[in-house]
């Protein structure tokens, strides 16, 4: 890693701070600009009718302070690792809620990602090495279909067909965390299929074009010309270089992955971050909304820096010197 690249990466890391600040202001501003009073949701419908209770709650949660003060106070706590307490989830600290729910999402999405890649990469290679053959056309058409199927629709159809009519798999995953290892797998199958399908389509298409690009490079022609067998050319020269851009694409998929989590976790009642966010939004639980959003934003930004690091490590030709993030 050259000095320039190191300096670039340090700039990228430092840039995360103002970006997260910007994100927090955006989210904080949005929750505050919205009509409706969170205190009413907070105290429940019975107490909401009694003004003195409402005022007391407002004071307890610091919601009677001017906005900038609320923001600065919240930010001061966030810097110390305290994301505040939830309004509605038994008043639990937001950070605890996030770390509790995080593993559900990581397990589910991690498994879906691994399965998607282990199908998409071979499919993409086959498609590229036999360009314009029948399998290649099938992959092209199949990936268009995979990317166009609404994931919530597919989830519903699978639930009703495999879960209810055939009765093979559980429809909801509420109990998955309590289940032991062999039984636990069955809760993963349907959500993983739904989450992996569009990823397979996307990654296979990308792998195909990355592979095609590499195959037509001079060094591959040279390798072929010096008499290397097609397999050696493919795996020793072409594949390694085609996988490099895949790293970037996988990293860039993280926001999409987290977006998918919100809808799919809600449909399968999967106890993860996405469901937490969905529930918090429904209950106007602002500290949880802010916490989850900030957490997701930080994760995406950190992953994008990590992707750059990996990129430099696996491809010695790459030198990163551009202006950070630009």
């Amino acid at each position: 890693m050259t000095g320039d690249t190191g300096a670039y990466l340090i700039r990228r890391v430092l840039l995360i701070i103002p970006l997260l600040l910007g994100l927090s202001i955006l989210m904080f501003g949005m929750t505050q600009a919205a009509p409706g009073d969170p205190v009413l949701a907070l105290v429940g419908p019975q107490a909401a009718a009694r003004p003195e209770v409402v005022e007391q709650a407002r004071e307890n949660f610091g919601l009677n302070q001017p906005l900038p003060i609320q923001y600065v106070r919240w930010l001061g706590n966030v810097v110390q690792g305290d994301l505040g307490r939830s309004y509605t989830f038994n008043n639990l600290p937001v950070l605890d809620l996030i770390t509790q729910r995080m593993w559900g999402t990581i397990q589910l999405q991690g498994l879906a990602l691994i399965i998607a890649l282990s199908i998409a990469i071979p499919v993409g290679i086959i498609s590229a090495t036999r360009q314009y053959s029948l399998p290649d056309h099938l992959v092209t058409v199949g990936s268009f279909i995979g990317l166009a199927i609404p994931n919530f629709w597919l989830a519903l159809l699978l639930q009703i067909w495999i879960g209810v009519q055939l009765g093979w798999l559980p429809v909801l995953s509420t109990n998955q965390a309590r289940a032991d290892f062999p039984e636990r797998i069955q809760y993963f199958i349907l959500p993983v299929i739904v989450l992996a399908l569009p990823s397979i389509a996307y990654f296979a298409r990308f792998m195909r074009s990355a592979m095609l690009e590499v195959i037509n490079q001079d060094y591959v022609t040279v390798a072929r010309a010096k008499g290397l067998g097609p397999r050696a050319v493919l795996y020793r020269h072409a594949l390694r270089n085609a996988l490099i851009p895949m790293v970037t694409v996988i990293g860039l998929q993280l926001p999409q992955i987290l977006s998918g989590a919100v809808i799919i976790e809600q449909i399968f009642a999967w106890p993860g971050l996405g469901l937490l966010a969905y529930e918090a939004i429904g209950r106007r639980d602002y500290p949880v909304i802010l916490g989850v959003t900030l957490f997701a934003g930080a994760a995406v930004m950190i992953v994008s820096v990590l992707v750059d690091v990996v990129y430099v490590l696996i491809d010695p030709r790459v030198k990163l010197t551009g202006s950070a993030g630009g």
Partner: protein, 310 residues
């Protein structure tokens, strides 16, 4: 070079390379424009997509003629009826005709997509153009804002905004528009950045052309290929986002039918066997998104034939 002659040239294709041998540049360019269309016409998948899209817009425009009735008409006794000759796609829990609701839903879903894309493109092109052309602080501000928007999962932003500001048709359009422009802004910025160093821009500058005119007359037409492809792909994405939001109950509100909220309403009866209420609206979303993607992809290949050949 006049504005018109650069209209449909792919920004990545040097004019010398694609001009017909012997033909002057002025004559070659109109041929190129048809070249894009001809290449698109040769793409069978894209053509199928285009036909479906045209049909969908015709359905949306002529919905009252096709729907065979009012989408909110209640018919006592016809609750959750399966598809039949009287009710082509069956009826829902409230005895409304699914065919009529889907046809009117086409209108709503396509309009939301179109309106959202107008916002996306207006913001994306303007900010991208300003950032690419002026650079400096403007560029920094725009790019950092896109960094922030791209870091948050979009659905999270969408449902937060939609839930906090009362879900409705307008809210849906506005929140999709305001959260989706980052990618377009970055692409247009890239185009402008790349184009502003070209000789014809320097030439225009040297004769004292104002920045606005350079941007609008010289740079914008050259970024058009990117913009057209983005528009097509975002039409599909916006329709899918609307469906997702409405499915979560945070988009278009019933009784106004949209494909997403028909699905959301119908899924409750899935367990009692009313599969048509889930299957058909989902198929409508699927076909629409698929068609726009096919055309968008075909356009991208048609604008940049070299990428296609590799």
């Amino acid at each position: 070079m006049s504005t018109d002659s650069t209209l449909s040239r792919s920004p990545n294709t040097p004019s010398e390379g694609t001009a017909e041998p012997g033909g002057s540049l002025a004559r070659a360019v109109p041929q190129q424009r048809f070249g894009v269309l001809r290449r698109l016409a040769r793409n069978k998948l894209a053509m199928v997509g285009l036909v479906v899209i045209v049909l969908l817009y015709l359905i949306a425009i002529f919905a009252p003629l096709i729907a065979r009735g009012d989408p909110n008409q209640l018919t006592p006794g016809l609750r959750n009826q399966p598809p039949s000759l009287e009710s082509w796609l069956g009826t829902d829990r409230n005895t409304r005709d699914l065919w009529a609701r889907l046809i009117y839903g086409t209108r709503v879903s396509l309009s939301v997509g179109l309106a959202a894309v107008v916002i996306i493109m207006a913001i994306g092109i303007t900010l991208g153009a300003l950032a690419g052309f002026f650079g400096g602080i403007v560029d920094q501000l725009v790019m950092r804002t896109t960094d922030i928007l791209l870091a948050v999962p979009q659905i999270l932003l969408l449902i937060t905004a939609a839930a906090l500001f009362q879900p409705s048709l307008t809210t849906t359009i506005v929140v999709i528009g305001l959260t989706s422009w980052s990618g377009t802004a970055r692409l247009v910025r890239g185009q402008f950045l790349q184009l502003k160093g070209q000789e014809y821009v320097t030439a225009a500058r040297s004769i004292g052309a104002p920045s606005f005119r350079i941007m609008f007359n010289h740079l914008f037409p050259n970024a058009l290929a990117v913009i057209i492809v983005q528009t097509t792909l975002w039409l599909s994405a916006a329709i899918l986002l609307e469906a997702s939001l409405s499915y979560l109950g945070l988009g278009v509100q019933p009784p106004q039918p949209s494909w997403g909220n028909i699905l959301q309403d119908g899924q409750r009866d899935l367990i009692s066997g009313a599969w048509w209420l889930t299957l058909f609206p989902g198929l409508a979303i699927f076909l629409t998104v698929l068609s726009f993607n096919l055309v968008g992809d075909g356009l991208r290949d048609a604008f940049d034939p070299r990428a296609r050949k590799r």
